[in-house]
């Protein structure tokens, strides 16, 4: 069917085409000024689903990164305390060896050694009660602020923690890492604790029996501490590894989200330019077609 063409149809068509062109211009303009290709779900439903999932991943990773930083602080503090404890216990071993060289050490010297060992016991107790922001790292879930009672309490060297209760930091949806340490494994508790052992050594020194026999007990405690410090080291490594993974994940998701949501500037500018040319063309064509009528030529 061949259409009859009238001024009105030309007008309407021109107007409709200009509207379409201007609509596309506005669309591109909105994309340029907001910098986003997706402003509402219907712009690209599939991409919307992907970017929403990625945003959730990103938020989880950002939180995991905070968790890891916090975990590093805990494990660092624990490690320092353990290292210092081991140094102190080694000093006790040296002193015990020195005191057991019978004949060469007089009563006064034994007393001096006993006093030093008492001091070291207090230092060890301090180290065992190391806390981070008010929380004892060797009895993670206690609210008491200390991990071990001191000698003068009703229950000497009693441990405040709960067996099996751990402080953990979440590094990913399916991985947590323990950031506190088992105080009992590291120091023992009550009568079998390293503190009680030191008390016994200092008592032995003062009452002059042989202390050589205690060396074996010291070594057992020392081995316990060494295995704990190794354990802390392994977990420290686990957290630092996770930190770099998390950092990489945050970067990945950020760039993926940007890749999905953000515009390609060069492409959009090109499109905008092309659309502008099309719009100007439509305007020009409209101006030429709409203006003349037969009247311009009849005299």
């Amino acid at each position: 069917m061949i259409n009859r063409v009238t001024q009105q149809t030309i007008q309407r068509n021109t107007l409709a085409n200009l509207q379409t062109n201007l609509g596309r211009m506005a669309d591109l303009q909105a994309r340029m000024s907001s910098g986003k290709t997706i402003t509402k779900p219907s712009d690209d439903p599939t991409a919307t689903g992907r970017t929403m999932a990625m945003r959730a991943d990103q938020a989880a990773a950002a939180q995991a990164s905070r968790n890891a930083d916090d975990g590093i602080a805990w494990l660092g503090t624990t490690d320092n305390a353990m290292q210092a404890s081991i140094t102190a216990l080694r000093r006790v071993r040296d002193l015990t060896v020195q005191a057991s060289s019978s004949g060469s050490v007089g009563a006064a010297s034994r007393e001096a050694i006993a006093t030093e060992i008492d001091g070291i016991r207090d230092q060890l107790l301090d180290l065992a009660n190391t806390n981070i922001q008010g929380r004892a790292v060797f009895a993670g879930t206690t609210g008491d602020g200390v991990a071990f009672d001191d000698a003068s309490s009703a229950t000497p060297y009693a441990w405040h923690g709960t067996a099996g209760a751990t402080v953990a930091r979440r590094l990913s949806p399916d991985a947590t890492v323990r950031v506190d340490s088992d105080g009992v494994a590291a120091f023992g508790q009550g009568a079998t604790s390293v503190f009680a052992l030191l008390d016994k050594i200092s008592a032995d020194l003062r009452s002059t029996p042989e202390v050589t026999g205690r060396l074996g007990e010291i070594d057992t405690k020392l081995n316990g501490m060494l295995s704990q410090v190794a354990n802390v080291g392994i977990r420290y490594k686990q957290v630092t590894d996770a930190q770099s993974l998390i950092a990489a994940k945050i970067q990945d998701t950020t760039s993926s989200i940007s890749g999905i949501e953000d515009i390609d500037l060069a492409e959009t500018i090109m499109e905008l330019k092309m659309q502008e040319v099309a719009y100007q063309g439509a305007l020009g064509a409209g101006a030429r077609v709409l203006q003349p009528t037969l009247m311009d030529f009849l005299r």
Binding site: Q7, S42, T48, R55, Q133, T141
Partner: protein, 479 residues
């Protein structure tokens, strides 16, 4: 043959050409009038007078020209096509508008939507798990939870607002339909009167045609022409206008959203149309009113707003239930016996879940972060709650699915609206190209009418001079 018959022939031409010129003038005057259909004077030659006898043949030339009427150059089939397309296009456009509005409320993807609120809420639980002794993280958690409940409630209220607006629109559209229908009935009456008395009702017919197209946009009406010049307007198979009588329609059903979208739906509360006179329900098959009514339906009847409302309620319920299930098994910092079995969220009874959702606790110490078996500063319960975000059945995934689903439906609805709008504009373009005034054409017609008028005047002059020769200059020999 009369001596003077030439004069009346010329006169008939003068009259006819003048009238044709006037019609051209009317056309040009209405070149930009919406709904105007071009007209043309129907000229017909007048037969020569014949002697009344058997086998008589006309003697001499004919008796000039007569204007037998003014034709309206419209095409009923093109009009019907425009109406059909308009009805579909209006329906699809109303649908697309509903989905676009639903979409604009969710603010996804972004940093301000419900998804972001959920993420911050879960992260706050992890912070509490990291530092169960810190009052600051507990307070922050309660704040984040309150923000989330507000976001959910705000989304619900926005949807409710959209429903209320659509309900008001439905009432307004129905009164537009009724007033258009009664105008058409009036016009039918006038047109019949004019046609009976032999006049030209072209302008009235244009007006009526505009109104019928308007009605097809509103309720998907179609028309059926009657022999007496009136038209019957049909909606869903029943006459909305028949002759000079119009039937009124009305919206029935609840004015408030809750009863109207309640499940299972009740006949009296669901928003629907009825004929005012009989109370019989009518189901529209097109037009923007049909689109608006669809958006008001309950979820089981495919109402998009009700569907969104149920999704946001589901979100509120699933967050509250999932968090409470774990939280009530945890231990707070408060003294026994109020240290366990504490609910984190409450869902008020008797109101929709999205509105009824609120944080049950105000005291930061009442947040149960610890496992009952472990120490007071254990964070395993808080950690467990924070992991509710994972998995395909998490509230986050539910919300994400809803948003993506909404996006897909909205995209489809918009595309459908664009396609039907294109076919509507094609149909309208065809109708316009047939019915609209072409100024060039009218100009050419004017030229020919003017020339014909001049020619007729010249014929008149010639006959006049001829008669002058006969009457005044004959028989003067020898004077």
């Amino acid at each position: 043959m009369s001596t003077f018959s030439g004069l009346s022939t010329a006169l008939s031409s003068l009259n006819a050409q003048r009238q044709a010129l006037q019609v051209s003038g009317q056309n040009i005057a209405n070149a930009n009038t919406v709904g105007y259909t071009r007209q043309r004077a129907d000229l017909q030659s007048v037969d020569a007078t014949s002697v009344p006898s058997l086998f008589s043949t006309p003697l001499g030339p004919g008796n000039g020209v007569a204007s037998v009427g003014i034709a309206r150059l419209g095409d009923d089939f093109l009009d019907a096509r425009v109406r059909n397309q308009t009805s579909q296009a209006s329906y699809n456009s109303a649908n697309a508008t509903t989905f676009n509005r639903l979409e604009s409320v969710v603010a996804e993807p972004g940093d301000t939507g419900v998804a972001a609120g959920l993420q911050q809420f879960w992260a706050a639980w992890e912070d509490v798990s990291n530092a169960p002794d810190s009052g600051a993280t507990r307070t922050a958690l309660i704040g984040k939870a309150a923000t989330l409940t507000h976001q959910i409630a705000d989304t619900y209220r926005a949807y409710q607002g959209q429903w209320d607006q659509a309900r008001t629109e439905a009432t307004a559209l129905v009164s537009q339909v009724n007033s258009a229908a009664s105008s058409i009935a009036d016009l039918n009456n006038q047109i019949r009167g004019v046609l009976v008395s032999g006049g030209s009702a072209n302008e009235l017919i244009d007006k009526r045609s505009e109104l019928i197209t308007q009605l097809s946009g509103l309720v998907g009406a179609s028309s059926r022409a009657m022999p007496d010049g009136t038209v019957n307007v049909m909606v869903a198979g029943n006459p909305l206008v028949s002759g000079d009588r119009a039937q009124a329609i009305q919206v029935d059903g609840a004015y408030a959203m809750s009863p109207a979208i309640q499940e299972p739906p009740t006949v009296t509360n669901v928003v629907h149309l009825t004929w005012s006179s009989t109370g019989t329900p009518l189901v529209l098959d097109g037009g923007s009113l049909a689109g608006t009514l669809t958006s008001l339906q309950p979820g089981s009847y495919g109402g998009p707003i009700a569907n969104a409302i149920s999704k946001i309620n589901d979100l509120a319920t699933s967050v509250a239930n999932a968090v409470n299930a774990i939280h009530s098994g945890g231990k707070t910092l408060a003294a026994p016996p109020s240290d366990t079995g504490v609910a984190f969220f409450t869902l008020a009874a008797g109101v929709p879940a999205a509105i009824g959702l609120s944080v049950a606790i105000t005291d930061p110490n009442m947040v149960a972060a610890a496992n009952t078996a472990n120490g007071a500063l254990d964070g395993s319960i808080a950690d467990q709650i924070s992991q509710l975000r994972e998995g395909n059945s998490s509230p986050d995934a539910g919300w994400r699915n809803f948003v993506v689903d909404l996006g897909v439906t909205s995209e489809a609805a918009t595309r459908k609206a664009n396609v039907s709008e294109t076919s509507r504009s094609v149909a309208e373009n065809l109708q316009r190209s047939n019915a609209s005034v072409d100024v060039d054409e009218e100009m050419t017609n004017m030229l020919s009418f003017q020339r014909a008028y001049e020619g007729a005047a010249r014929v008149l002059t010639a006959i006049d001079q001829m008669l002058d020769t006969l009457i005044n200059r004959t028989g003067l020999v020898g004077r």
